[in-house]
Symmetry: C5
């Protein structure tokens, strides 16, 4: 295996008895892309898919070429968003070409394993190298999910124990990230399924087992995403229930205070009237009697609230 | 390829060694339709489907003819609605007939590609031309989705950051548009799937690959629709949560103010009574003592609210 | 084709070289039913299904007989309900027997087409006649759906623009009608699917194409039902959101008025007390000073509400 | 056919040229069960399933034996619960053994049909007898559903028309019964599907048609359950909407009364103050002027509420 | 069968004519794991799955080895959580190797059955031993579900009858446990399905029947989980409905008390004003007339509330 700078003379490649890995960082140099497409006889639809990013992940076969389109995901911790980058892989007899949307070090682990002479990349064919590249992409998903899980747990802590502020904006944005994640991962499940079932002849049976493992990892990611979405929904429900209960408790206090004092205030209002003829006003025990009456009214109400279990 | 005005003599067509593309703008001229149907031996059910618009999108085969029924969508920016137009395509050996509900320029890009001699339309058969027409229709969906996405993001901005008015009417209408969109696109998925899997012999293997790409685009649209629907639901939830919290905050203030002042008002009411015998009234320190009592009551309540975390 | 009164001598039928259509209006005359069943060798399970109405729609085959069980639907505009009637069709070599739950004119359009000598009913076999009868039933669904759509749009108008009364009872009843409609139509999809796929040999390939069209119509009905259910749910959400917002607005007014005046009323209460020693009362500027104090309190509160965006 | 008491000598059975039906009421006599299992060579897993009740309904085949496990349901009208009883059927060449969890008369209709010499039980084989037993169980489901339907309609009446009390407890318990019903019926669908499709050779083609009918009945039950669950959900929504609206109406009255009188009470409070210098108090028209002012304030507020459509 | 301590010399094993069961408690001794993997020729992907716990349950086949990966669950009663432990089983010709994440007594029942010479473990092959181990794991699920059921019923009791505190935190945590349970059990369904259908040749037909029983148990667990989730949702709804109704009842009392007394307090306020000219004040019957007026107002309001069914 050799890796080439993008401006190498493409004509001299892949003549040797090795597996050639051509890594093209950035798909915006359309001249280079056209050169590569002509040299390796890439199907025009595949070529279009490679260049126009934003495609759905897929695993297709064009004659004797395997075409993998994946979404590389990275968690942007500052903006709290998942960033998507399209990665395409073309694998034919004796060569693998990988296209990255932006230059980056996605495939570093694979490169390291190759240069260290370890792993099976050297020993096995282009299909295994394709698997290794796809595996490097999927391994990254677990890192992204762990970041999201951390965000989620922080939020959960806040909502359930700390009487924190309204989490709905954060829940909304986390859900949005999960939805876009699912949008990237879900079609990869189909793709991996096609690859592991031998629907694509370019994959040898030996490598199918590896794609079965990749499939398991993708399903695990999907399960994780679904679990987190359900948990987010549950979290929101808990929050709303807590807020509702708090409102309820406040309502209760207002009701009890208001319901007790409003009639009492009315009674004292009566004896604040300035009528010339109000016999009670001149009774010697008028004042204590009114006070006693009001105490009775208040106690009666408290008793009623107690009975209704509102207190 | 030649294109004909609708009133051309149909009898002389398709005798040459070319692919004939007959584009019929408007399906309400039933005499012309009958003429075309007789000349090209269109199955009566297909003919009925072409004329009675409002059918479900589908891909069927009648003997050696391919019948495609699609929905052309356009975004009406003023009324904020998605408008649907039925487009039918009949493809046989050496000819393609397209029917549009209303005269329009849906197929302009295809026409341009043909007249420029570019593209594969000239080189390949009637099946590829059918694909090109279907592709032109599906490409338009992305434009419609982008308009809807813009509407959505404007709404999101309003709801999440600007404390805007009740978005439920807009959410309702946007959801309705999405539902009618989904209703148009969902059956096209099945149709494209049938076309790409070789279930319809009229499609050559070479063109099946193009229909596979079309299928991917349709699935992308469906994913996008689902994502937006989920997001709209989430947006509505966020809005309701915000409104609920605002109500709650208002309730809290009302409660605190009312709960503190209602008992105090009762106390001042007591000493506003006109009983002749109210010893407190003549105490030299009666007034300051009552004021102190009321301050105590108010402070006690504030302390209680603080403890309950209502303040 | 001949059509017979129900009390005809059944023994002499179907000997001729024609297709016999026997239409039996009402399935409660069990003697007649038994006679028909014996004469045409109807499977006992089919016979039971015909007589005991309330069965699930289905398409079955008993030896060389096709058995279709359909639900005829009619919209009762007064009671605003969808009424269901069971229609069964038995088709064998040279004869079609239709059973209606109640006498009615469901099959009038078919009868008219036959008597006018138009259409394909005369030319084609018993399978095409069965299709025509089923088609007449399904065509009726569109009329029912249009009535429901009208009901829905009236309701929508009311809810979204007219500030009408609580629509939940109407939404509830419309949803119930939709659910019972879906219960009738959904199994017909399976049945039509079996008929169009050639799973039932009694259907010739030529007629399968017609059943494919029927299938498309049924799926269109189902899509419509689902769309309306989703819209009803959305309508209810809009209504609740509107009611919630209205409650909120009312709350706001109550809070602001109460929160401003409750403290002021307390202040005027203080100076209504009858203590002998209240120095403020004899201050020359006591009254205007208190009035100014109260204005200050009120303005402070208004300012606070403004800041909180509650006003 | 003969039916045996459970303590009969099992060794002498099934030697004759008849179909033997052995009905074992109660599965807790493990000695008898072991005897039967040995005599009829029942697979140990089937035997375990028979004895340990609470299994999932299923249709399995062990070598040449058909094993049916069903749930018999009965509606307990007093406790308003659906009671489940496990019924197992083993059918082999020339014999059918049925096991009931508790002694009961589940199979009475079958027994009656046999003893009356009617029906097909006598004429046909062990597979038809198994069908008859299963049919008796499924027929009972319709009775249970009718009881539940009655409960539901009573509840609906209460909620929609009678302004009854909170139905949520009843809805909760009815939903729970429906859920446990669904849990019993759903797996029977799979079982009946396997039996009607000829996946189990012990079922003759003639009897498969009967199992197809059984399948239709089970699907009808499932549809009914789903419809009732949806209706219950809708009922709950209607109730909550009604309660919400009622709360809203009450709020409105409180708001209007409070909002009008709170400012007025403040005004009368002002002129209840005891300041020595309050010029208005000595104006000859002071009292009527204040009364007029208050009337103006009240009318202004009523006008405002009218405009806001709160009144 | 023999069981070995983990540090036994692996080279001498499995030479005899017996089935070897090697139970490795703890997968963190990577030297031992490598030794075992080399000795038994375990596929590198299987070996990785065994060591890196947290994998998805699965049943795979590597050449002639069966690889089972299961989740052992235990209910931690104190922390109210379900704890997951990964258990892997490798079965080849003549040997079964089980790996537990942590040392424990999961397989005690199997061990006991073997040592007692009972059961079929001794008689049958490695595939049956694998089944026994998997069965021991699944049997444990029922214990966990019973613990969860108990938790649920306690909660239900609290919510429905005891007017207990907000159950949303408990519901949230119980739902979370159910979700993680489902995440463990759901993929086991697929695995058991593959094993019972003979998709994996290492399983003899005789043992497939046992795996069919295992499959039934797993589906029963899944049904149970779904039922409990639905019930939890229903419970939460009931609670919220109860809380909502309680709030409503409180609101009603507040409204009635406030609405009656606020106008009365206003009236008494009027006659508390100190205007010099208030003719009513000097009327002999002024006081009783005002009292009567207020009684009339109060009665009118009570009558209105009665009519509106708010009382």
């Amino acid at each position: 295996q050799r890796q080439l700078a993008a401006d190498d003379s493409l004509e001299n490649l892949a003549q040797e008895n090795q597996i050639l890995w051509l890594d093209i960082p950035g798909v915006h140099d359309s001249v280079l892309l056209k050169k590569v497409a002509r040299r390796f006889d890439i199907h025009p639809i595949a070529a279009e898919n490679i260049q126009h990013t934003g495609q759905r992940p897929k695993a297709d076969e064009y004659e004797d070429q395997l075409f993998l389109l994946l979404h590389m995901l990275t968690w942007n911790g500052e903006e709290k968003t998942v960033e998507t980058e399209q990665v395409s892989i073309i694998a034919g007899k004796g060569y693998v070409i990988s296209f990255q949307e932006h230059p980056g070090d996605v495939f570093d682990p694979v490169r390291r394993r190759i240069s260290e002479g370890l792993g099976r990349v050297r020993r096995m064919g282009a299909d295994y190298l394709s698997y290794s590249l796809a595996d490097a992409v999927v391994d990254n998903y677990f890192l992204v999910m762990e970041d999201l899980q951390e965000e989620f747990e922080e939020l959960e802590e806040q909502v359930l124990f700390e009487d924190g502020p309204d989490p709905s904006a954060k829940v909304h944005s986390l859900t949005r990230e999960l939805l876009s994640l699912r949008r990237a991962v879900w079609p990869m499940r189909e793709a991996a399924s096609a690859l592991m079932r031998g629907q694509i002849p370019a994959i040898s049976e030996e490598v199918q087992i590896f794609f079965r493992d990749l499939y398991d990892h993708i399903v695990q990611i999907i399960d994780w995403i679904e679990l987190m979405r359900d948990s987010l929904k549950g979290l929101m429900d808990s929050y709303q229930s807590r807020v509702g209960n708090s409102t309820n408790a406040i309502m209760r206090v207002l009701t009890i205070v208001a319901t007790i004092f409003i009639p009492l205030t009315f009674i004292v209002g009566i004896y604040g009237m300035n009528f010339q003829r109000m016999p009670e006003l001149s009774w010697p025990l008028g004042y204590p009697m009114v006070m006693a009456l009001m105490a009775l009214v208040a106690l009666g109400m408290l008793f009623y609230f107690k009975k209704k279990k509102w207190l």
